[in-house]
Symmetry: C2
Subunit: 356 residues, 2 copies
């Protein structure tokens, strides 16, 4: 198959981790007889520096014409002083909205080789951690009106958390369909004891659930969910939640696996085109030193093959290669312990590509 991939390296460690994912994708193309063409475009801080805007038109156009987007990471202290509407992070939000990527899927999985890295006790991790967070990505307080005005001589700022039924409906379907391929349980997280958006959320999710009698549904308040993720993560199969809660809970969920550098994510809309990126940030402190962990990006590339290109064997091959290299004891700095061997970001990419 021929696929055209828009590549956004972004800022900080973005370029070095993307390079490794491209290595791996190129290897897959050779082995499986595909043609992947990569078109590199700018977004984030580097785009602000080069073009004066975090999301140049050309970038958007290239992404819209691509079969999928592979993204490293954007942002960094260099651009932190900019007003909200001009920050590197706006590129992410703009891309999500323009590409209609309303469904963000973030797995929280304990890698057996890295089980010691979890901050949780062995008595808790022994029960396993294997769930996904399905986060609504183009609605809620991220995309409602943001305003700062002056009232009675003082500044007043507001952000509107807003959801309409169809936005909740479509993400609920994603969660139930995901659960069907897993252990058939959805935990919908909201704050229905306080928020109108949450009460509508709960109502719509319950309605959608009727179409999935084989999937069980439970509801949980967001404050309780933040506790349960630490206390008993094994209880979760699919967590379904809105944008802001999903941001917080998916990061907490990845942290309890102890290996945030190894987790990829996919953002999908109604078609097959998606955006794939690791869940970690741009890590400016180690940028350019060939130290970063490229596995989150490489596994994001595997997700692209699986979800957008319908290439499950190829995706499996990448995942097996990652596992094999970890089994051999090779680690980047963030994953090191006493019994493992430190390698660089690029060597990790080389080894994973070679293991395919």
């Amino acid at each position: 198959m021929e696929k055209h991939i828009a590549v956004i390296k972004g800022d900080g460690i973005g370029p070095e981790i993307i390079d490794q994912a491209q290595k791996v994708l190129t290897r897959i193309a050779e082995q499986y007889g595909h043609t992947f063409s990569f078109e590199e475009v700018l977004a984030g801080g580097c785009a602000i520096d080069a073009c004066g805007t975090c999301l140049p038109d050309k970038t958007l156009k290239t992404c819209l014409n691509s079969d999928s987007v592979l993204l490293g990471a954007v942002g960094g202290p260099k651009w932190d002083h900019l007003p909200g509407s001009e920050r590197p992070e706006k590129a992410l939000l703009g891309l999500r909205k323009a590409l209609g990527l309303y469904a963000n899927i973030r797995p929280a999985v304990l890698f057996p080789q890295l089980a010691d890295a979890s901050p949780l006790k062995p008595s808790i991790t022994a029960n396993g951690i294997d769930f996904v967070v399905v986060r609504e990505l183009t609605g809620g307080v991220y995309f409602g009106a943001h305003q700062t005005t002056s009232e009675n001589g003082e500044a007043v700022a507001s952000d509107l958390m807003i959801y309409s039924e169809h936005e909740i409906e479509r993400i609920a379907h994603v969660a139930f369909q995901t659960a069907r391929k897993r252990r058939h349980h959805v935990t919908s997280v909201d704050k229905a004891n306080v928020l109108d958006t949450s009460r509508l959320w709960r109502k719509v999710v319950e309605r959608v659930a009727e179409q999935y009698p084989d999937v069980t549904l439970s509801h949980m308040y967001v404050d309780n969910a933040a506790m349960q993720i630490c206390k008993n993560p094994a209880q979760f199969d699919v967590i379904l939640t809105e944008n802001m809660f999903g941001d917080i809970l998916s990061d907490e969920a990845s942290m309890i696996t102890g290996t945030i550098g190894t987790i990829g994510s996919s953002s999908l809309g109604s078609g097959t085109r998606g955006m794939y990126e690791p869940i970690h940030g741009s890590a400016p402190d180690i940028a350019g030193q060939d130290k970063a962990n490229p596995i989150g990006t490489i596994l994001s590339a595997a997700m692209m093959l699986r979800f957008s290109f319908d290439m499950p064997s190829e995706a499996d091959a990448i995942e097996r290669a990652v596992s094999a290299v970890l089994d051999e004891g090779f680690r980047t700095g963030d994953m090191m312990d006493a019994h493992t061997v430190l390698i660089s970001c690029s060597e990790m990419g080389d080894r994973i590509a070679a293991a395919i």
Copy 2:
């Protein structure tokens, strides 16, 4: 001294835990020569059942005329079907607003006797957990306009997250003053890369910080904070944050101590009158069985003596008594392990009162 205390037992385990706190306060009054008068009033689900409203006028009036309010817990599945504006939880929100309690202080402390209860690894808890969350309690998305309307034939719900400068300023002062009595560090948590409210938050907090040159200030995004609380809780001294983020993070913070049943909280405004309550909920599943852990409520009573009544020795006496009973190995069910002795809620109250 004479103090008039409004007592809201509430729902579920509320009555049994409040009884124990009253026992302890009565013992303090005897020993230290104070007079505490208790006036019991209804709020929450039991008030809906008895008076048709979760927060009857009489309750509000009694609280406004009290020196402080002691609250058990409100809510339960019996009232979960009610519309948002009529739920038991509305009583809490109504009391916070009417009493002007904008500052909610929730400690996250690892009790040495209960260190094994933490879900975190010993290598993490060994560094200690001892921080407080200062949560803004009368603003943000909890109190902005809640709306559900119909647009183009579908329901659209919204909640307004809104903050004005003075609301941020006064809670920032509480955080910096709290830090002065502790380890002089404030971590302000926001989502300034997305929200206007957060950008105003950050600006005002930085301005207030100039008045506290002896306190260091750092900023953290809320998604990162949710991770750092699990990864390295020892880094925190005072976490300052807005209402919704504070709800989520303070629950996560209490969970990592492993002893949510033992944590109290205070809600204060500009005067000395406060509302004191445990951070756990009404636990309907064990209500009326004399099994609940009353320590969170008893330590809330101690906070009342310390923060509202300026009785630090009396507060110390309660805290010492709790510690002594735990040292002797007595536990309610939620705190049990192999080497401890199970006692009931009321026996826990008796033993703590007797130890004063």
